[in-house]
Amino acid sequence: MARKRPDPVQVIKQRRDAALSALVHGVPYINFLGIEFDRRGDELTAVLPYDDKLIGNPLLPALHGGAISGFLEVTAVIGLSWSVLWDEIEHGQTDAEEIVSGHLPRLPKTIDFTIDYLRSGLPRDAYARAKVNRSGRRYASVHVEAWQDNRARAFAQATGHFLMPRRDG
């Protein structure tokens, strides 16, 4: 018996992007900071476009440590949640259309978060990527790195532990 033909590439892409967008834009604080996610396959890059309200020291000027940690924590939570969802969507356990129509999955809860400020954040766009070092049924450990102009020169990094949402059924 012939395998079912996969959906056309643009249909799959559109569905995945719409699911990610629904997940991200469902959180008011993420919208307040103006964070967007750029997706290449299952890899996400968080983008924090520069805004005057992100400044912590107007004299330098430099980004606020709190804006940076907020950005890193958002990157970690969305990165972790997306990595779990990605597998579920791929295996047909979760329907991307469900997410798009507003049935958002519960997000992981932060247990602790440790931020390392390596250099001051310049008044320009910032980028970050999360690496899920362990993702268990209940707990997860995630590392995040953020950079600005130069990928090799991170300006902040963080490690956080998260409590995974209960998956009933």
């Binding site: 008011p28 604080y29 606020h64 440590g65 709190g66 940690s69 001051s120």
Partner: protein, 154 residues
């Protein structure tokens, strides 16, 4: 004579309090991100700072429960710890966060103001060590705790 002197003293104290609250207001106004989050400095001095952040819709991290996002809590903690370091009697000229660890013990109750109190418990020539707690209306159970190291600019 006596009542007159007391009145003068009160006026002096009131003027001092007004001056202090003016400084507190200016402190937050000088930090665009902190004022965007609606923070209010309510006490500062001798290595101690208290900052309040009223509940606001744009701070929400979980729309279903209305709980404030951890990122907003950490911004509050960071600002408060920095303020405590700055207010230490050895008066640093400036400060920047080296690292900050936050433990989230429970979600903050939806609709309630978050209050953070930070203490700079040790300071060297170049590093300030600070710890902080955040509360909602339930003052017996902190929402979050933080410990951090800050640079000391002389």
């Amino acid at each position: 004579m006596r009542p007159a002197r007391d009145t003068r003293k009160n006026e002096g104290q009131i003027a001092k309090m007004v001056e202090k609250s003016k400084i507190a207001k200016q402190f937050i106004q000088a930090i665009p991100h902190s004022s965007a989050l609606g923070m209010e400095l309510t006490e500062i001095g001798d290595g101690f700072a208290r900052i309040e952040m009223p509940y606001a819709k744009h701070l929400v991290g979980d729309p279903e429960t209305g709980v404030i996002h951890g990122g907003a809590v950490s911004a509050l903690m960071d600002t408060c710890c920095g303020a405590a370091a700055m207010s230490h009697p050895s008066s640093p000229a400036g400060t920047a966060t080296i690292d900050l660890r936050i433990d989230y013990m429970r979600p903050a109750a939806s609709g309630q103001t978050l209050v953070t109190e930070a203490t700079c418990y040790n300071i060297t020539r170049s590093v300030a060590f600070v710890r902080a707690e955040a509360f909602d209306d339930d003052r017996d159970n902190p929402v979050a705790m933080a410990t951090g190291a800050f640079t000391v600019e002389r």
